[in-house]
Symmetry: C2
Subunit: 454 residues, 2 copies
């Protein structure tokens, strides 16, 4: 065989710092506001929820922040993760494009999420915290924090969006295997949950509601902190280890991407692969196309409004400026549960406003077509979320074919689909159908956005 | 951190040959017999089922057989697989032992099985074969052959033991994702299946029955060959890439195992990790303890008889001398479906007779205790089959603790449990109970062993 398939970095080359894109932005993103005063929040406002070290990272503008050695030590269980050249997929597509993918499914929880779960648990443990709450959609984040908690002696309670809790019982079993407690959301354990259930007892849940529940528990208990798996600046920063490794691996391959593709729900895996490349561009490097792919049933980047909004449904979080479908919007119950969030990370939203990235939306059947084609060519069965990135990359490769032009495409295969096989079952039984959000509900949710003076 | 966690071999160090233990045995294993003539079978007897290249490997006594480059090319998707030092597990156990594990769950199908599925599919494709049948228990073998078939344009039909088919629907979805057809066994598609169903319509199935069905289809169709995932000499040989890699990785670690542990169903993952080390010993190298761990509910090595028996229930296969519970024995439906086989690989049986290995049996609750302890310490959730090896290794480590003695333990973590989370669900719901086989059924099955003159 002439060309290598897999590019493996030696452990000694694992990045020692996270990359903080705030250092390189042409202008800073709008400030996060206190919902009462509508003034920028300070560290004290966030202290009930997060340990001080993570608050400091959230507002830092330093380009590099050191990854603590005990965190890198855990990362060595699966990092550096492999970069693959998709020779078989290229052949199946008949494209002149070169397709590379970074594979984050090698982590114990099966996705990129442990990249931030482990440092978050570690910083909390350092601050003496013994209990964490969080929310989860498909369960990738919840099982990642459960895993991280088990390593550092932290009790983890996870509010899981009910539709995913019902669709994906094995994720719950995984969380329990790691010693966490998993509760279907909306639940009767919080005011936020009870209020929703009073209106609609069979509510399928949403990430916005689950966040409300987890935040409420942390805010009302002194010994409990809260942990978020996406959206926030420090969470996105923790994922930049992905893109940094990919840069080194593409150097090994003697290649340089023209197009970078990632799927977006809250924005963290996309940020992880893209930010180091965008940063290099902002410091005078090569200009690349950076494509965010989202579900057409929850299209915050392509159909949302760029406005201040709450991160949760019960309005317990600060106000952040982001592309949002409105905090009361409940997306339909499609299979990529990790992408069912009404908003988008403020940093990703800001980059879209600055025209530094593009966004595309796809319906779920076409992304599963892409995922199955990928699995048959490359062997790895992607998570439904990751299928969005696969579809985006395949479309870029087919465009190369149509234009008779070779480009180098890099995408982030952010997780495997082993816990999502019910979605593949539905696909093969012809029961997986495209889902549209309710236009009237979207209009109402957008009309209900909080009014914030410019 | 002072000591490394993960030992990764460069692709260039991936073994180029399989190791054939037949070259180093002090005496050869008893011959395989034709069930009609009771004379040793020749290549012609096997030709309806296997391509000639695999038959040649089955009877070869050459020490090294080259791995074809197109096979190594596929292996590069996940090989060399990592070797881990289980620092966190050692700490949790408080043992002076050093525990290493080779992790085969990194393959696309999640276990060691693709190590033989890929070459078997490739040799069949080289021989012009377009259709393969096989059987599967838990589904690890079936999904591996489905994956391999998808790479080489071979249609794969899998007869899956009904109890696993029902318990583990996601394995079927995985097989379908790779393009294979999966049928619950016993089925109405074969004479063997229909005969069983006529006696007992709700029969839970067994590997012995599923083998009969798959062999029948191949034997009665000129254009279909059969593929087996364990037991046979060439299958065990294909797995020796595991132990060969582990040797190189332990050299990197500057260590040398005193005890090697693997779980045994048909014997292939155990052979994969152990045979290269046993071979080195037979050529004058270090003597090590080699421990095979099997389920107490299907204890072929510890309770079976070393005798000539059929590999399947309908008596379509040749007679092989092995530790067997009798070909009509149906093990209870415990969760490690991959270990529910009445017999043991002839080579593994022969080694037990030669006192070159030991065997132990455990009930399923205690192996799940071990698996959960492992997952909380090391992050990886093992397959129920692999939990047997985990339990065996933990017991060896605890013995070191009791004796105040450090030894180096190596075990094969042959697959992850992502498709077996229903077993973990049952475990956490306190519904996973120890299962005993029926002593009367075992006695009857042993009484029914074919009579073969010594």
């Amino acid at each position: 065989m002439s060309q290598p398939t897999k590019f493996v970095l030696d452990e000694s080359k694992m990045p020692r710092h996270w990359y903080n894109i705030a250092a390189d932005l042409p202008k800073p993103p709008p400030p996060v506001l206190h919902p009462g005063t509508q003034q920028p929040v300070g560290p004290d406002d966030l202290a009930p929820l997060f340990p001080i070290a993570l608050i400091a990272q959230e507002v830092s503008t330093e380009r590099e922040i050191e990854i603590p050695e005990p965190v890198r030590e855990v990362f060595r269980l699966w990092r550096p993760s492999p970069l693959y050249r998709a020779h078989r997929l290229e052949k199946a597509l008949g494209t002149p494009a070169k397709i590379y993918y970074k594979y984050e499914g090698v982590s114990p929880a099966g996705s990129h999420k442990p990249n931030t779960a482990v440092p978050q648990a570690w910083y909390n443990a350092q601050a003496g915290i013994k209990k964490l709450t969080t929310e989860t959609g498909a369960g990738q984040w919840g099982s990642s924090l459960a895993f991280a908690g088990s390593l550092f002696g932290i009790d983890v309670t996870v509010f899981q969006v009910r539709v995913s809790y019902d669709q994906k019982p094995y994720r719950r079993a995984l969380m329990e295997t790691y010693g966490a407690r998993c509760i279907a959301s909306p639940s009767n354990e919080t005011n936020a949950g009870r209020a929703i259930l009073a209106q609609r007892p069979d509510h399928p849940g949403s990430l916005g509601i689950a966040i409300s529940e987890a935040v409420e528990v942390a805010a009302t208990h002194d010994d409990v902190k809260y942990s978020l798996g996406s959206v926030l600046n420090h969470v996105l920063m923790h994922q930049t280890i992905i893109g940094q490794e990919a840069m080194l691996q593409l150097e090994m391959a003697g290649d340089d991407p023209d197009v970078i593709v990632g799927c977006t729900g809250g924005g963290s895996n996309f940020a992880g692969i893209a930010f180091p490349f965008i940063g290099a561009q902002l410091r005078g490097g090569k200009k690349r196309r950076i494509v965010a792919v989202e579900p057409a049933a929850c299209p915050s980047l392509t159909r949302g409004k760029y406005a201040y909004d709450f991160g949760d449904t019960a309005h317990m979080t600060p106000l952040v400026k982001m592309h949002t479908l409105g905090s009361t919007f409940t997306p339909p119950g499609f299979h990529a549960g990790g992408l069912r969030y009404h908003g988008m990370a403020p940093l990703v939203s800001h980059l879209l406003e600055l025209d530094l990235i593009e966004a595309k939306a796809y319906q779920q059947k076409t992304v599963f077509d892409a995922g199955v084609q990928f699995a048959r060519a490359e062997g790895i069965v992607p998570a439904p979320e990751a299928n969005h990135a696969v579809k985006g990359a395949i479309d870029e490769a087919l465009r190369c074919k149509a234009e008779g032009k070779s480009r180098t495409i890099l995408f982030n295969l952010c997780g495997h689909g082993h816990f999502d096989m019910s979605a593949y079952q539905a696909y093969f039984a012809d029961k997986l159908v495209d889902q549209d959000y309710d236009e009237a509900e979207l209009a109402m949710a957008l009309a209900g956005l909080p009014s914030v003076p410019a």
